[in-house]
Amino acid sequence: MEFLDYLRKGAEFFGFGDKKKDKAPEKVGEGAKKPEEEGFVMRTLRSLGLGKKAEKVEADAKKERSGIFGEVWESVLARHFPRLSKLLDMASTVGLTRRDKEVFSLQDEFESITAFTMLVPDFLLRKITDPLVHSSIFMEIVEHWPTIGKGWFQDLKKANYDPDDVINVLRVMVQDLVTGKVSMDKVMGWAK
């Protein structure tokens, strides 16, 4: 679980996630930043006695941003680091990490099942992916998909294609549907 520790440290570095438990809890009003690190607005608000209120606004905004960060991180991982993305999904399936609220029904199930295909040998995985790559409708959709490069599409057309690529393509597609980059109406149009 070393990689999870690295991720936690990375998230902490950027100010997200829980701080180490051995640290003394911060008192309300003390704030995480030192006075010299704070901007002019925060310093002025503190001098006006509005420090606590301003801290609450900051904390709420930080919470909101951490949600956006999680979303961005997931789509970057699915696109550029598919293996790591699958490992993280596997970790969340077995309860090691927290899962985000699903955008559509069966999203969690889809992500878990496709993540665990990492453990399935290629000859078995091909039994599932072969019908997909031989389907003209599926290949038409892959060809039109804006975030899937031509290189990836050409790789799927090869006779000795890597079945993991098909799974990765499906995961990218789901990510795009979740973030709203591609709408279902468009997909239905390509499938005709």
Binding site: M42, L45, I68, V76
Partner: protein, 58 residues
């Protein structure tokens, strides 16, 4: 794009968080950028309102 970069620079985030968002923005989709923009705008507006009220009531 310029607008979101200006909002990041003006927001009360610490320097490393600002740097992180600057790096992530090119990887972000339009919808996510809009979400971030809305969140930063809301935070900046709330702090500015507070500042204005505080200064005028002193």
């Amino acid at each position: 794009m310029k607008e979101i970069l200006a909002l990041i620079q003006l927001s009360p985030m610490d320097a490393r968080e600002k740097a992180m968002w600057m790096m992530l923005i090119p990887q972000m989709e339009e919808k996510q950028v809009l979400k971030l923009k809305k969140s930063l705008q809301k935070e900046t507006d709330a702090l500015n309102d507070m500042l204005l009220k505080g200064l005028t009531h002193k």
